[in-house]
Symmetry: C2
């Protein structure tokens, strides 16, 4: 009986490795499940046979159905032999019952297979870096492409087109409630959020494989330990995703919520993938912790501090029912500052819009350049230094065959030189992971964050346009003069929110890039010094003349 | 009247530079001679128009002939208008006279054009490095390809096929003459030439443009100053070439004579070319000076020490009449060592043959790798570091527009970082000229030298084969037993010459490569240290947190 499997993720064979290129959804016949090292041998519908990573496929329950058909044909043959009509009738009833049971099982397993996507997507694979490993060197950098704008939840606000309509908020005369109040103060740099005394932070660590349904389904669980309680909580990727959804729903009109590390699939080494995802979840969590509004929100606190399953489930239900979402978040904002007139608001808006667009271009440039450099270091440069190393060593080998009596010192020195260049090849190839990685990861985070600004900023633009219409609406008797004043006041509040958010962004950006480039340069200095040291050592082998 | 020009050297257009690819011998029509900076605009026979370096073309005297034809048609028109038969007759005579005179001029100038090739080839252009300058980055390394085997002069020995026939020498019972005697001693490393007390050396310097024929023809003259007399002599490239021809004629059966730097054309900057040629002539002369047999020869001494034009011309004539050339050189060799039997001779021959072939492959590998590295440094790597520099500076510019009050330190530091990477780009691009250049030049010299070994070694192989035939020839009564013994003794002498020459080669090789790689590594260390220093300085601009 042939074992069938369905392909979960696209996989591109590397030439010369006896691999098979497969596409998501394709059905394969497994020809050898005992290849080992995470690979299985499979045949596709066109009859091509090759290796496929076992994580990329799901052995299909469909095989049970194919077993059923084998069973029915056997049964039919049996019946025909008997030529017994009553037997045949009974047999048909029996067969039907068996089929119902088996079909149920099959449907059940298909269901569980679907749920897998939603539920256990934390086991999916992501890119292992920026062309970093030899394995995906030929690939393109796909991460973050599709995911880099926020999923501004529109379904909660009927009538929303692309941008959430700020009218709901603009016309509301509201008083900020005590607990949810989001004050804005004047700091040294302008309007700022209220920052907590102690900055929240957390450590994402210790990824563990968990399983449920008697081991049929497995997932990765991460341990998150906040600095406030020092008590770890466990979360799967899908919980992070749930949190992200809640934060977008609640805050995204005022605060750009950066996307989670995505689920895209190009890497293939499970361990490396888990490490990379953990590192990115850590980056995301740290950024969320650093945000005074987000870190202080109920949903975020729940995520970090829940004590047991019950508290978690109750909290979840409560968060999902939260009414203060979308543009309504602005009604919580309480700038203790003089009202801005619409012209000032627009000017600020223009400035931020321009800045975030320019920075978006700039970080993209940095990523492109960094990606090229990464590939050069791990590809052609490594190869070239190896070749230089080989050339010196070959020269040494040839010299060694001269039978000339004064050869020894030079051949020894040349061999050492060759080996040094081979070491340099590996240092060069390993360097991007040491220094560029951090610069790229954080810049990539910024790219994601900057990708969220247009959505957030569009809400402000829509509000500005509404207020511009206000005079006309007053004339048309659609709103009162009082309404117009409320609108202007609310627009001012929105602007303060944006200013506070931008100042938060700037402060973080300066902190991040100062740290980032400094770290990069430190590592670069070490890199060049290490190479110089190695070459000095090789140089020492030569006789001075 | 269209100005025509003949292409002297192949020239490959660089894409996007409005240049025209032309081939040696092609006739172009000059469309603009006033382009400047050493360029002219020309049209080829296919109608393509583009820029060509003016050094690469020779304005053709053929244009005078085309003028003649213009003249005849005008004249014919004039005659037809006159309808005067006598006038026409006279005119034809006049026209014929004019044509004879002009044709004579044309032939004269064509002659001088041919002579130019022989005579003033010292003004030809050669490669400016190994893909070194930006200008010829796209080009391939052509130098030495065609030229790398010796021109073993065969015409002096009628009946020679490819390899000079050693029979002339092998059967000669000779006594080494006093003055020309080339003794071989046993040194620490085996058979060695007699080395002089003070090693001859010379400095090739001060290239000067000279001219003759009232400035119509110009050439470069180099000043060569030997350490023995410290009195400079002047020589043009063609004199070097003459010396080379004499040395090949006289010594090449016993000593590989490396070729002169060739005349191939890919560079285009006159000054750079002259510098490069001078450097290579220096390398060649130093190598010749270091050779105890060559440096002591009459012709070499003449080249370095002639006192006046008269002495030079007399010496030239004498050298050209030298009878002791080709295999006869072996009759001057006087090994004061026990005779070797043919089996020992063959064993040595095999070893040297193998070694020189292996080393030939090895230096070619080193050249290929070095060439690739050179191109990478001056091409993609430079570009990439510039891009990294630009990316940091662009980020800094964007940050500068934030209007956030705490921007200054970071933007300053980022700009400095960007500028540092731009400097690194130039350091990286300039490095090959500093270190790889020397390694490549000398390795290239070795490639040329090793390219001469097969010819020299083939003479020995032919002699070994002759001696193997000797027994048979004795039986056939073609030679006497005595002749056979003479042949074996002479073969032994040839082998000692080869051994002395190989030991000379080995000693120089070890000296050269020890010095070369040492220098290369020293410069590489400086290179990496310089970059580390620059990055440290940039790092110092960041605020520590």
């Amino acid at each position: 009986m042939a074992v069938k499997a369905q392909v979960l993720y696209d996989f591109t064979a590397e030439p010369g490795n006896n691999e098979l290129t497969v596409q998501e959804g394709e059905i394969l016949t497994l020809t050898n499940q005992n290849v080992g090292s995470g690979w299985v041998e499979a045949r596709n519908s066109r009859g091509n046979v090759g290796l496929v990573p076992e994580d990329y496929i799901e052995v299909k329950t469909i095989l049970i159905i194919s077993f059923v058909f084998d069973f029915t044909s056997l049964f039919r043959a049996y019946c025909m032999k008997l030529e017994n009509c009553v037997g045949l009738f009974l047999s048909i009833i029996l067969l039907l019952s068996v089929m119902v049971i088996l079909c149920h099982m099959a449907v059940g397993s298909v269901y569980s297979f679907d749920e897998e996507w939603d539920d256990d997507s934390d086991d999916g694979k992501s890119t292992g870096g920026y062309g970093g490993s030899q394995a995906d060197e030929g690939g393109t950098m796909q991460r973050g492409g599709a995911h880099s704008t926020m999923k501004l939840s529109l379904n909660k606000f009927p009538g929303f087109s692309k941008t959430p309509n700020p009218e709901v908020y603009l016309l509301t005369k509201h008083i900020s409630k005590g607990d949810d109040r989001l004050p804005i103060y004047t700091g040294e740099v302008g309007p700022v959020w209220l920052y907590p005394q102690i900055q929240l932070d957390c450590v994402v660590a210790d990824p563990k494989k968990g399983s449920k349904m008697y081991g049929l389904k497995s997932y990765i669980e991460y341990q998150i330990t906040p600095n406030t309680t020092n008590r770890p909580v466990n979360h799967r990727y899908k919980h992070f995703d749930w949190l992200y959804e809640r934060l977008v729903e609640k805050f995204a009109c005022a605060l750009p919520i950066p996307c989670l590390p995505d689920k895209q699939v190009t890497g293939r080494f499970e361990e490396e993938f888990i490490k990379m995802r953990m590192e990115r979840l850590q980056g995301w969590m740290s950024r969320m912790c650093r945000h005074p509004v987000i870190s202080n929100s109920d949903v975020f606190q729940l995520f970090l501090n829940y004590r047991d399953e019950k508290e978690w489930k109750l909290g979840k239900r409560k968060a999902e029912k939260d009414e203060i979402v979308g543009v309504k978040i602005f009604s919580n904002i309480d700038p203790e500052l003089p009202e801005l007139d619409p012209a000032q608001v627009e000017q600020k808006y223009e400035m931020y819009s321009q800045f975030t667009r320019s920075m978006d271009n700039s970080v993209k440039e940095l990523l492109t350049v960094g990606h090229l450099h990464w590939k050069r270091c791990t590809g052609p440069l490594q190869k070239e230094y190896r070749q230089i190393g080989k050339a010196f060593q070959n020269l040494s080998s040839v010299f060694n065959t001269s039978a000339y009596p004064r050869e020894y010192t030079l051949t020894e020195a040349l061999t050492a030189t060759g080996k040094t260049y081979e070491e340099i090849a590996e240092i060069v190839a390993g360097q991007p992971k040491k220094d560029l990685h951090f610069l790229m990861e954080t810049t990539h985070e910024y790219k994601g964050l900057l990708g969220c600004f247009p959505d957030t900023i569009a809400v402000h633009k829509a509000a500005i346009d509404k207020v511009k219409e206000a005079d006309h609406l007053v004339v048309m008797n659609k709103i009162s003069q009082q309404d117009k004043l409320i609108m202007e006041k609310n627009l001012s509040t929105m602007s303060y929110a944006l200013q506070a958010e931008m100042n938060h962004f700037h402060s973080n950006r300066i902190y991040d890039y100062n740290r980032l480039v400094q770290f990069y340069l430190e590592e670069q200095v070490k890199f060049y010094e290490t190479i110089a040291e190695k070459l000095k050592k090789a140089l020492g082998q030569y006789t001075t003349m």
